[in-house]
């Protein structure tokens, strides 16, 4: 860092310094994790792969919401509606003979445009007012899905095609898993890159101190609206991945409860954390499975007979989600990503950390 350092060294040292991962070992761990996941279809059955697929597209949507809420400091309680818009849009594009691999990205762009329109009030509204505006977006879009038969297929829903690449149909869990994994990697790299460049920093600056951000030349209205566009793009791509997994899209799925689940994912995973979005999505997808497993375990026991767990399982799942949100808000407000960091720091210093 002194003037004695030859000029050529600056570049390489800063390059190492500006990587997308905080440390070299975290980069290795991530690469190893993705490599391991590539082997998942060899190990897991269809059910487990289905869960991983669900975690994958949920994580992409959660990441988009995290850019809006966690990184830019805004709020949206209509994220599921944008997710749904992407699902329908992709199905519609496919009907007009756009190949599925392109339709997914096209749906993302279409959803981004819709997000920009609904995000425009964000340039002026804040806090509770913005929350209400996004709630309106949720209901307007849901209403649109229900009425615009040409778009959504109306109450009957819309059937769509599986993912096909170079004549290869990737329509089974074992194969579609790789499609989702590839999109997850691309979207997470994109978000990580965004946050270490000009516009990503501007978003965080708007969150942390909008007055001084403005003084640094950051146009507040532009970035507040842009974050809605980017969040919607992620939601749209995620929704499209969902559509070509289930091969059927219908209105009911994209209600406000689903929007709240996305919020829960980023709160539990960690607001303003890219990897936290993944952790939160995994948590929220796996939580009902754990509840189910618990109920199964207790099946036939005295507890089951008195509480009739089997009959109230769907109620129990929702209660578990609610309880998880509340417990995280109280005991782990910084989310899983933060806890993970603390655990790593603990092990680094292991023998001396007491």
């Amino acid at each position: 860092m002194t003037s004695m350092t030859p000029a050529g060294d600056f570049r390489s040292s800063y390059r190492a310094d500006t990587t997308i991962f905080p440390t070299r070992s975290s980069m290795m761990a991530t690469i190893a994790g993705v490599a391991l996941l590539c082997a998942a279809p060899l190990v897991f059955g269809r059910y487990e792969l289905g869960l991983l697929i669900t975690i994958g597209f949920s994580a992409i949507a959660a990441l988009g919401l995290n850019i809006l809420v966690g990184f830019t400091g805004q709020i949206s309680i209509g994220h599921a509606a944008f997710f749904g818009f992407g699902a329908f849009a992709s199905a519609l594009l496919v009907e007009y003979h756009v190949p599925v691999p392109l339709a997914i990205w096209g749906a993302g762009l279409m959803t981004a445009v819709v997000g920009l329109v609904f995000g425009a009030p964000a340039a002026r509204l804040k806090g509770l007012y913005l929350a209400i505006a996004t709630l309106a977006a949720q209901f307007i879009l849901e209403d649109f899905f229900a009425r615009a038969r040409w778009f959504s297929g109306g109450v009957a829903g819309r059937v769509t095609e599986p993912y096909e690449l170079f004549g290869l149909r990737l329509d089974r869990e074992e194969t579609y898993f790789y499609v989702v994994l590839a999109h997850v990697v691309v979207m997470f790299l994109a978000a990580g890159n965004l946050m270490r460049t000009r516009d990503g920093r501007a978003l965080i600056a708007v969150r942390d101190h909008y007055l001084s951000a403005e003084m640094m030349g950051v146009n507040l209205a532009y970035y507040r609206t842009l974050s809605f566009g980017i969040a919607s793009f992620f939601a749209g791509v995620a929704g499209a991945l969902y559509a070509h997994y289930l091969l059927f899209v219908s209105v009911e799925a994209f209600n406000i409860l689903y929007s709240i689940q996305f919020l829960a994912m980023i709160i539990i995973g960690g607001l303003g954390s890219v990897m936290g979005s993944m952790m939160g999505a995994a948590f929220m997808v796996l939580l009902p499975e754990v509840v189910q497993a618990g109920a199964d375990l207790l099946a036939g026991s005295a507890i089951d007979r008195t509480l009739r767990l089997g009959a109230s399982i769907s109620f129990l799942r929702e209660m578990a989600i609610g309880a998880a949100i509340i417990l995280f808000l109280i005991f782990e407000p910084d989310g899983l990503a933060h806890r993970w960091k603390m655990i790593k720091a603990y092990w680094k210093l292991y023998p001396f950390s007491h």
Partner: protein
């Protein structure tokens, strides 16, 4: 210096908040290359003046010219690109960002990479641009001697260091004019001396014109080329530090000394 056009000119600037007159018909000029200080008691309107220049407030009356251009109604976020940077009286860092990222935000108007090219970091030239600017930011970090905290989260730093990081962020804009609102408030003597040295250096070595609000009269008299005194939103004196110190109005209004010059409305020292 005399014939040079002013870099900043306030022409009859008034600012009202309901019944409060924060500024009343204030005019002054800042010449390129000088350190110009505004002093005055609390509530005199110093910060309000800086806010009018930086765009936070719109004057109720009057104009503000920067580089000969009327910027009275220019959007705040466009003033960085014109060449105006500032620090805040109450710290205004991006608390969750690292020191480096804080300073990189200062480069915002100089960077060309939008979000699309940013997302494909390695492909669209974003990386090249980041590294080039990073290098210049490191020079500012060296200049202000904050190498040891460049990776620290800004919100965790001591008060004195945060003030310094804020200066670094303002310098990163490459401003022609830098507005410093009480850069030494709350600092100990050593930190003050460092800060004074940095201000002189960025003025002399980097050629930035400085407009500074400061309460520490020792520092003001030491490093300012010219001083303006505000009291109750009015300009009561302006001139060289010596002229201002000798001014009877100033003694009465600011230094709390008895009024020797009776009620003389003319300004003794003029710009």
């Amino acid at each position: 210096m005399k014939a040079e056009a002013p870099i900043l000119a306030a022409e009859g600037v008034s600012l009202r908040f309901g019944g409060v007159r924060a500024l009343a018909d204030v005019s002054f000029e800042v010449r390129p290359g000088e350190i110009f200080s505004i002093i005055g008691p609390n509530g005199a309107g110093k910060t309000s003046m800086v806010n009018c220049i930086s765009g936070r407030y719109r004057p109720t009356e009057g104009r503000i010219l920067f580089d000969g251009q009327d910027i009275t109604r220019t959007a705040t976020s466009r003033r960085a690109a014109l060449g105006i940077g500032r620090t805040f009286q109450n710290l205004a860092l991006f608390g969750h960002m690292t020191v480096l990222d804080n300073i990189m935000v200062g480069r915002h108007h100089l960077l060309r990479t939008g979000f699309v090219r940013g997302m494909v970091y390695w492909l669209g030239g974003a990386q090249r641009e980041e590294l080039a600017h990073r290098r210049e930011v490191e020079e500012i970090i060296d200049f202000l001697e904050i190498q040891h905290v460049r990776k620290a989260v800004a919100g965790t730093l001591s008060y004195g260091l945060r003030k310094r990081v804020e200066l670094a962020r303002a310098m990163a804009l490459k401003p022609k004019l830098i507005l410093l609102d009480e850069p030494m408030a709350g600092m100990n003597l050593e930190e003050k001396e460092d800060m004074a040295r940095f201000i002189v250096d960025l003025n002399e070595e980097l050629g930035m014109t400085v407009l500074m609000i400061e309460h520490d009269m020792g520092v003001v008299m030491d490093i300012s080329h010219r001083v303006m005194v505000l009291d109750f939103g009015r300009r009561i004196a302006a001139g060289s530090p010596e002229e201002v110190m000798a001014d009877a109005h100033v003694k009465r209004a600011y230094l709390g000394e008895p009024d020797e010059a009776a009620h003389d409305d003319a300004e003794h020292a003029t710009a």
